[in-house]
Amino acid sequence: MSFSLLLKDFNHVLVEVLTAISPVLVLFFIFMVVFKLPKNMLLKLFKGVVFAFAGLALFLQGVKVGFLPAGMQMGSIFGSLPHRWVLIPLGFLLGFVATLAEPAVRILSNQVEKSSSGYIRSNIIMFTLCFAVGLFIALGMTRVVYGIPFYYIIIPGYLLAIILMFFSKPSFTAIAFDSGGVATGPMTVTFIMALAVGAADRIEGRDAIVDGFGLVALVALAPIIMVMLLGFLYPDQENNGDEADEMDQVSIDETENNQLNDRAGPGLPGFISNSVSGGRNQEEPDRPYNNNETAIGDDCGKEVSSNDRQDET
């Protein structure tokens, strides 16, 4: 392996990521003009955008030079084995760990914990997604190995999702469908697709392109069903959570209005400094993102106090 191999086609990746981030950049510049943020704040935001850009580019490149070839190779070796069924448990295992490595999965889980005031923990959402994707990749591998038509799985699957929706709690429904879009990220899609295409290539009568395609759709469907099922299992504290949430909304609303009334010149400094530094400089750690195991009840209280912080500004 040479160093140049690692950077193969890196310029394509850079262009891709730059294109993907461009809408954010445009909004950022509009922001600069409209809100007249303090300079150090702007600098911090801009630095973050650059970090996100560089990070995503490195991530995608790593997936391309490291995980894509490994997936292809593993798929074709296991596909040519006499007992191909090993692809099924292997699919579960790899689906599980690939989802864990998906950037957006981590972000969604953290946002869920934050927005639900700790009622739905980020780890629970994350492992539900991992389990769901693993299970459905195993199903997808079964399909590839035994040649089951795609609709036999996807159409009943979505019908099941629609039926579940009518019994599921609204908050879990919303999170479930978001998770579907989130689970299909660069790691899962590239790696698992490579695995399936590698395997389908070795098994007679399988079309690598069609079989590879279907797997992504299954990955999108898996979390939808599983997160709604999780909702049924979840202790029924929904009402408490929602009430706490409503209090939050109101208090933020009031803060916002006060600020709108108060401010004459520079737009929204209080709210912005709060959401940017998010209490990071305060003694209390920024709870939404840390994964430490605090009791649910405690969290509700903390959320309110975090809003008090906003009032102080």
Partner: protein
């Protein structure tokens, strides 16, 4: 700040560690991988790990706050029409910018044997996302339960699927997944958080989430309709 960084680093190691471990174990014990390929995988893992770390730091210090600010500002300042229009434009633009959408367009080009060219597909998908994102915002404002929209959308999908050529069914479901990439997700999520934070008491978690889910239906319907017309 440093405490945060340490936390993120730990998250990243816990995310990437398992997949690397599993693949390394498989490569070492179940299949005999050539050494060069093994080291290439290790090098790729290092890139992925450092990349994810930078990305998560960047998302936290900028993408989430920017999204939240824009979300709350749009709602508290703009008129309804402006808000819906902004949502539409935003959904459209972020889809056109998504790299995976272009890959999809290429695949569709092949599946349709050139009948559906990339430009047409990208436009169809982006229109689908734009329409559904503004629908999602309208839903939050009017307080329509998300299940109604999702059910309506997916029932429509199932119905159209009966007329859609088989090749297109798989591709169209894929289309729903690929349009929401890692750059768009944190941004759309934050937009939802920001928007609902200023809407007053009626909104809860059910309103914060769901934007991405609804946005994923648009492309499915868009590609299926193209399949029915051209397939």
């Amino acid at each position: 700040m440093f405490k945060d960084m340490k936390e993120i680093l730990l998250e990243v190691l816990m995310s990437i560690g398992p997949i690397v471990l599993v693949i390394v174990l498989i490569q070492l014990f179940m299949i005999s991988t050539p050494a060069s390929m093994f080291w290439q995988f290790i090098a790729g893992s290092v890139l992925v790990t450092s990349g994810l770390f930078l990305f998560l730091v960047g998302v936290r210090i900028s993408l989430l706050p920017i999204g939240e600010m824009i979300g709350s500002e749009l709602v508290s300042r703009g008129s309804l029409l402006f808000l819906l229009l902004a949502a539409f434009v935003f959904g459209f633009v972020i889809t056109v910018a998504e790299p995976d959408v272009r890959v999809l367009a290429h695949q569709v080009d092949i599946a349709s044997r050139g009948a559906i060219e990339s430009g047409l597909l990208i436009t169809a998908v982006a229109l689908g996302v734009g329409f559904f994102v503004s629908l999602a915002i309208l839903r939050i404002i009017l307080g329509i339960p998300i299940a109604y929209l999702l059910a309506g959308g997916y029932i429509l999908v199932v119905i159209i699927s009966f007329w859609t050529p088989p090749d297109f069914v798989a591709i169209s479901f894929d289309a729903g997944g690929v349009t929401t990439g890692p750059m768009a997700v944190p941004f759309i999520l934050a937009l939802g958080v920001g928007a609902t934070s200023v809407m007053g008491g009626k909104s809860g978690i059910a309103d914060v989430f769901g934007l991405i889910g609804l946005a994923s239906i648009g492309p499915v319907i868009g590609v299926m309709i193209l399949g029915v017309i051209f397939g």
